[in-house]
């Protein structure tokens, strides 16, 4: 049965237990033939990526995770001229530390970021093994999923997790790699701000805020809360115009707001009485 990992970014608290547990397992422990030791620092077979989003005072952090996707159609496996990379019956892709010749072709071939590392001391490429040495001993968790306090990592058999997988996202859905790592709540862009009546010195609750995609014309609407705050979430990457409307006030239009690269905090938006 194929092993899979499901990562839910919405309940990752950023504690780095996964990254640290991986080091605890693989640094200075030799799990040949599955893996030789990982260098003490600088390499991460499960890397937590700190994504600071927005700007003062609309700021959030999302913690992303880079880990080998254990692809069904793994570009690294194809690229290795030493035939050091193989796929086990359970789908786990392993770089054989004995066969690896250090030509680093796999690093170039892998389309995902921060996944395969080159260990200069051992002259081999290394990456996540889904803790295959433990699975073979009867473990049902990898070290990272075992150490996760919130359940952000779910490791298991594909068959048992079918329903969850059906709801999940892929890191790079455009690639035909057939990854065995699935995600929930991959970051989507947001536009936020705070609406106020400066003459009354009050936050404006209940204002309608609409973001319209300048290319597709698709619109998303929300209303401001008691602080005048609004968060337009789950936006597709794109340019938007933003309209702020409230009865008794002049409507304000802002934009274009560029949400192609990053989330946008529009700051304080003053409405004037009509």
């Amino acid at each position: 049965m194929g092993k899979v990992m499901i990562i839910d970014l919405a309940i990752c608290n950023g504690c780095h237990n996964c990254q640290v547990a991986c080091k605890d397992e693989h640094v200075a422990n030799d799990w040949s033939p599955v893996a030789k030791p990982q260098p003490d620092t600088g390499q991460f077979w499960n890397k937590v990526v700190n994504m600071e989003r927005g700007s003062f005072p609309k700021v959030q952090v999302t913690y992303h995770h880079s880990i080998c996707q254990h692809c069904e159609d793994a570009p690294c496996l194809e690229a290795c001229t030493a035939h050091a990379i193989y796929r086990r019956a359970d789908g786990i892709v392993i770089i054989d530390p004995e066969k690896c010749r250090g030509n680093q072709l796999c690093l170039e071939a892998c389309p995902y970021e921060n996944v395969i590392y080159f260990n200069h001391d051992l002259n081999i490429a290394q990456k996540c093994t889904f803790c295959a040495h433990l699975i073979d001993r009867g473990w049902t968790e990898t070290r990272c999923s075992d150490a996760c306090p919130t359940g952000a990592f779910t490791f298991g058999d594909e068959q048992d997790l079918k329903e969850k997988i059906a709801q999940a996202e892929l890191l790079k859905p455009e690639l035909p790699t057939g990854p065995r790592v699935y995600y929930f709540n991959l970051p989507k862009k947001w536009i936020a701000g705070a609406v106020l009546d400066s003459e009354a010195d009050e936050c404006l609750e209940g204002a309608a805020v609409t973001a319209t995609d300048t290319r597709t014309g698709g619109a998303v609407t929300t209303t401001t809360d008691n602080y005048g705050d609004f968060w337009l979430r789950d936006l597709k990457d794109g340019q938007y115009t933003v309209a702020v409307e409230k009865e008794g006030y002049l409507t304000r239009k802002l934009g274009p707001v560029d949400a192609t690269q990053k989330d946008q905090n529009l700051g304080d938006i003053v409405l004037w009485r009509a």
């Binding site: 990752c12 620092t41 010195d201 602080y227």
Partner: protein, 866 residues
């Protein structure tokens, strides 16, 4: 040593040992971990699995039901990365493996106290070390009397039970005639201790008491949670693990709104907040006052409740509304002080008044550890009272220290059927002891040594009650000596307390003829000791442990050592045993009890001995305590006071919430820094640390200093797997890993500072180097730096490279009559460092050997491979 009966190794030849890897530092364990060992090597550290040896049917874990949803403990302990990475701490390049002596300290000749912190160390034998130590102890005692020996032993290092680790020497010193005790002050909760007690009692901590069942109360009843300077994704790690993280997600799932009030997007805010209110550091008092003003103005507070539950509201109202001083403490008044707009203050006040609101704290947030911390603490209590404190969903809830002081009243999560306790087997000292002939509050130690004579009010123990704050004490006490020797087993004063640079100056005085440190790592205060004894880590010792703070299930477990002690190290208890033996006092010191006997005693007095036999406990490796079957019937928080204030009064003189503190009015009627009615105090006799003061022209930024994310106080700073995390260290252009200073892009740009730059944090108390971490997570006008970085002096007492921000925090205490320390919310300037100039001026300090990924290490401070 008696061998343990343990479970056999698994098929891979690994043996699993259960260990407490947490840092409360006394016998109160947490972070139960399973350590797999093989052939004398630690293979891995992982969460403890409750159901490896027990079934859920046996344990019957609690289930919280609220709003149609359920919440249960996890099947495993929720340990933090600090525990997972602990083998790196055990094998740190800073480990002390042999006794050492400062090379130019000669008790028969020149002692060179001025070179403490500069001169290096050489290895000596245990024999030589014991000779030096015992002859110095006897000489000092003979010359000055026993109280010339200052004993520094606190908490908050590794948890151990039969091996101390803190205060093992007190019994021996008592046998020798006495000593002067450094009394830990209420660090991290000073505002509650010195302030809030005068508003609501809640002895002995000053935070709301009782806490019982508040997690369930929130889940069922609260509509709004104000996390006020609380980071339940950080501060709790060393104490209890990560249940608070799961809970915070659950509360969001239940639809309970979470607002975070602090200068920074702390780690909990970063993932749980519905709203961030970025208040300037240590201006919270003004924010509370403006909220109260809005409530008085709009009549949106519980007048009937105040009639029956409060005292002196009229005097408070007069101050808030400006009848006293002509200044209404309105939202408009508070906006420029706090940096929060008046409209947001008003919106917050209205939301708090309209919803069942619980204020959530995690001990010392940035708002409670600053100058005049008594005031925001008291004002929070008064605001809670104005909205019916104790009503379901309306309490002050703690995210930390659940079950503190062996007390069910402190148990916010569902209560266990038994609170396990290992106090009887503990060989260290507990902080609650009183009636010392000679003591100095920790916050006043530098002042005592530098000035020779001091006096103060209160603080005989961190757990004394409010009345102790009205007792006057002095140093030297009558018939007692000044300090001439220091013996520390908690050598982290410099990086954890107030004005570490003053401490450095004090400890380098010739008056201090001998300083003895015992510790596993050469760090912080150790650099000033004359003789250092090697202590081993918890994983190198046989012990007995527990997990009582997790909030999930209590555990008891025998602790077999995972590896043999490194080098010639031994435990704190064994260190003192060796000294006692040399003095011919071993039998009297130990009472004739062996380590295995102490471990067994721990089991016998743990309160669960009737539930599992010693043999079964060893075979299974641990015992899981079931929850109280009737935990749901335990009344939540202050509900009994709410329902019946006469029958269940508070421990204030009036039994009510005192808006006008009668005790302060009686004892300190003229104290402008802690007046009977709590106030916003921008400056006073003891501090000038706010924007708008004269000092702020030169030092315009306010420092917010939190408890560290990647360590517990001074612990863990050398763990390479943590130091490589982006928010843990910033590698400077010179390759050194600097402590990050959070600075907003606006403030950075104004100073020409770029991300990764080495910067100097400056005020008249000294200079601390740091790595610029430019981030939107800190508000403009404030900079953030965690305390606890390893001290790495460029010039001892003046310039630090390691990032120990406490070297330049205020030297004065909370206020004149309150001797807590003030370690956050103070003024500095930040500038780009001219590293080349500094290196040229201090070549030796910069040439000191430093581990490329672990930081300052033993090799930098030793000669001849010690």
């Amino acid at each position: 040593m008696e061998e343990y009966v343990t479970r056999p190794p698994n098929s891979a030849g690994e043996k699993t040992l259960v260990r407490d890897i947490s840092w409360c530092g006394v016998f109160n364990g947490a972070n139960a971990s399973m350590v797999d060992v093989k052939d004398g090597k630690i293979i891995r550290i992982r969460p403890a699995r409750y159901y490896d040896q027990y079934t859920k049917e046996e344990v019957k874990p609690w289930v919280m039901h609220a709003r149609g949803k359920t919440f249960e403990p996890s099947d495993k302990s929720l340990i933090p990365p600090l525990s997972l990475a602990y083998k790196k701490r055990v094998f740190s390049p800073g480990r002390i493996r042999y006794p050492m002596k400062r090379v130019d300290w000669d008790p028969k000749g020149e002692r060179n106290p001025q070179n403490r912190g500069v001169s290096k160390y050489e290895r000596i034998s245990w024999d030589e070390a014991l000779d030096l130590i015992t002859s110095e102890i006897l000489r000092i005692k003979e010359t000055y009397g026993p109280t010339a020996i200052l004993n520094q032993s606190d908490q908050h290092g590794e948890n151990k039970v039969v091996h101390g680790p803190h205060g093992c020497m007190r019994k021996l010193l008592t046998m020798l005639g006495g000593y002067t005790l450094q009394v830990r002050d209420a660090d991290s909760w000073e505002g509650w201790w010195w302030g809030a007690k005068h508003a609501w009692g809640c002895e002995p901590v000053g935070q709301q008491m009782p806490q019982k069942n508040l997690l369930w109360d929130i889940s069922k009843n609260a509509e709004l949670l104000l996390f006020w300077g609380c980071d339940q994704e950080t501060t709790v790690w060393g104490w209890q693990g990560q249940l608070t993280s799961r809970l915070s997600y659950w509360w969001t799932e239940l639809g309970i709104k979470q607002i975070y009030i602090a200068p920074d997007v702390n780690y909990a805010n970063a993932v749980h907040a519905d709203k961030w209110i970025p208040v300037l550091p240590n201006t919270d008092a003004a924010l509370y006052l403006a909220i109260a003003h809005q409530w008085f103005k709009e009549g949106t507070y519980d007048k009937d409740y105040l009639e029956t539950h409060a005292y002196g509201v009229d005097k408070f109202e007069d101050y808030v509304m400006g009848k006293d001083d002509g200044v209404p403490k309105s939202a408009e008044w508070a906006a420029p002080i706090t940096g929060v707009s008046s409209r947001v203050i008003k919106a917050l006040a209205r939301e708090w008044a309209s919803k069942r609101t619980t204020v959530v704290i995690g001990n010392g947030g940035p708002g409670i550890r600053g100058p005049y911390a008594t005031e925001p603490a008291r004002l929070q209590v008064l605001c809670l009272a104005m909205q019916g404190l104790g009503r379901p969903g309306c309490n002050q809830a703690k995210m930390i220290e659940w079950g503190l002081l062996d007390n069910f009243e402190q148990m916010s999560p569902p209560a266990p059927s038994v609170l396990t306790n290992l106090g009887a087997a503990y060989t260290g000292s507990t902080p609650a002891v009183t009636n010392h002939p000679s003591f100095i509050p920790k916050s006043l130690v530098p002042k005592a040594i530098l000035e020779g004579e001091i006096d103060w009010w209160g603080n005989e123990s961190e757990f004394t009650v409010r009345e102790d704050q009205f007792v006057h004490y002095k140093y030297p006490a009558d018939g007692c000596s000044k300090i001439h020797m220091v013996w520390t087993d908690s050598p982290s004063w410099i990086t954890c307390w107030n004005s570490g640079n003053d401490y450095v100056r004090a400890i380098r005085k010739p008056d201090i003829e001998f300083m003895l440190a015992q510790h596993p790592w050469l760090e912080n205060d150790c650099l000033f000791a004359d003789v250092i004894l090697p202590v081993n880590t918890t994983l190198e010792e046989d012990d007995i442990g527990s997990d009582i703070f997790s909030g999930q299930m209590n555990l008891l477990f025998p602790e077999e050592r995972c590896i043999e002690p490194l080098g010639e190290s031994c435990s704190d208890y064994e260190v003192v045993c060796r000294i006692a033996e040399r003095l011919g006092l071993l039998e009297e010191y130990t009472g004739g009890r062996t380590i295995p006997e102490l471990i067994k005693l721990g089991y016998e007095t743990s309160r669960v001995a009737h539930l599992i036999s010693w043999e079964d406990l060893q075979k299974k490796g641990y015992y899981v305590v079931s929850p109280d079957a009737d935990w749901e019937k335990i009344p939540a928080g202050l509900i009994e006071f709410y329902d019946d204030p006469e029958g269940h009064p508070l421990s204030t003189p009036t039994g009510k919430v005192e808006f006008y503190a009668t005790g302060l009015a009686e004892h300190f009627p003229d104290d402008l820094e802690r007046p009977p009615v709590p106030k916003w105090i921008p400056q006073g006799l003891y501090h000038e640390e706010t924007i708008g003061t004269e000092r702020s022209k030169k030092y315009p930024l306010l420092v917010m200093s939190n408890h560290p994310r990647w360590g517990v106080h001074s612990e863990h700073d050398d763990i390479t797997w943590l130091r490589e995390i982006e928010t843990c260290k910033v590698r400077g252009i010179d390759g050194y890993q600097y402590q990050p200073l959070w600075i907003n892009p606006v403030d950075a740009a104004a100073r020409g500072i770029k991300g990764g730059d080495v910067v100097s944090i400056v005020n008249e108390r000294g200079v601390v180097l740091a790595g610029a971490y430019i981030t939107e997570r800190i508000r403009p006008g404030a900079v953030g730096i965690d305390h606890g970085a390893k001290y790495d002096p460029v010039v001892p007492g003046e310039i630090d490279r390691g990032g120990a921000i406490n070297t330049i925090v205020p030297r004065n205490t909370t206020s004149k009559n309150a001797c807590g320390h003030a370690v956050s919310g103070f003024l500095v300037e930040v500038e780009k460092t001219d590293l080349e100039a500094l290196r040229a001026k201090y070549p030796e300090a910069f040439a000191r050997e430093c581990h490329i990924t672990a930081g300052p290490c033993l090799a930098g401070f030793t000669e001849g491979g010690a």
